[in-house]
Symmetry: C2
Subunit: 155 residues, 2 copies
C-alpha cells in the first residue's frame, strides 16, 4: 500500500501550498522515519474522501492527531505567507476539547487570518488539489491585507 | 480577616481599570457568593506583596487559579479598551503548563496588545494602585494604536 502510493503520480501534490505543508511536516521528522516516504504518503491523513466523511459521526471530540494536523495546516499557511511576502506570520490556535476554537495568524500588528474552527474531528480535504486551493486562499487573502496595510504589518 | 478587609478604605480600588477587573470577576459570580464581599476582597489574590513574592520559588508550574487570574486580567484590559474606544477587543491566550505563553488582544484586524508571558506562577501586583497602572498602560497603548490605524481596527 505504502509503496503503491509512493510510486503513483498524485495530482495536486506539487501545488506550492501543498509543498509548504510537506516542508512543515518533514521538519518534524527528527529521526528520519519519513525520509523514504513520498510526499503523498506523508500527507495521506490530510485527505478525507466523501465516503470517509460520511462514516464519521457528526459530533465527536477530536483526537490529538487531528488537532496536530489542523495546527500543521495553519503553520503551512504561515510559512507560505512568509515565502510570498517576506514577512513572518505567527499562528495562534486555541481549541476546546470539543473541537471548537479559533485560529489567528498575525504579521506585525496585523491579523492576516482569523477563523473560527468547528467540527475539527472531520478536518481534511477530498484531494490534494482541494488541500492546495484551500490553503492558497488563506495565503492570498493574507497577502492582500498586507499590501493594503503594510505599515501595520511592519509595525 | 475578611470583614476587616471589607471595611478598610483601600487605596487604588476605585481606579477605572481596577473597577473593570471587578466587573469581570463579579460577572462570573453566578451564585452570588461574592455579593456581600467588598471589591478589595474579591480582588485580594491579585495582590502579591514583596514579601510573598520572595517566598515563591523562582521556577514552578502555575496552578489553575493563577492562570485564571491572568486570563481575567487581560479580559479586563479588553473590557476597559471597549469602554474607552467603543470597539470590541477579543483576548486570546495560549499558555504552556510551565507558565510560558503569549496573550494577544485584537480589535478588528488590529493586534492592540501582544505580550509574552513568563513566570506566571508569580503573577500579581504589590498594590491596587500598581494593578490599576499596569492595566491602564495596556489600555492606553491599545487606544493609541486604534487611533493610529482606525481602518484596520474597523476592518
Amino acid at each position: 500500500m505504502t509503496t503503491a502510493l509512493a510510486e503513483a503520480p498524485v495530482a495536486g501534490i506539487d501545488h506550492p501550498f501543498v509543498q509548504a505543508l510537506v516542508r512543515i511536516l518533514r521538519a518534524e521528522d527528527s529521526y528520519g522515519h519519513w525520509e523514504k516516504l513520498s510526499d503523498a504518503v506523508v500527507l495521506k491523513d490530510f485527505i478525507v474522501t466523501k465516503e470517509q466523511r460520511r462514516e464519521m459521526p457528526i459530533i465527536e471530540d477530536p483526537d490529538p492527531d487531528v488537532l496536530w494536523r489542523v495546527e500543521k495546516f495553519y503553520s503551512a499557511v504561515a510559512l507560505a505567507i512568509e515565502l510570498k511576502t517576506k514577512r513572518m506570520a505567527s499562528p495562534m490556535m486555541k481549541m476546546s476539547h470539543e473541537g471548537f476554537g479559533r485560529v489567528i495568524l498575525t504579521t506585525g500588528r496585523l491579523v492576516v487570518l482569523a477563523k473560527s474552527l468547528r467540527d475539527v474531528h472531520r478536518f481534511g480535504f477530498e484531494t490534494f488539489e482541494k488541500l492546495g486551493t484551500a490553503g492558497q486562499k488563506f495565503v492570498d487573502e493574507a497577502e492582500k491585507l498586507i499590501n493594503e496595510f503594510p505599515q501595520v504589518a511592519d509595525y
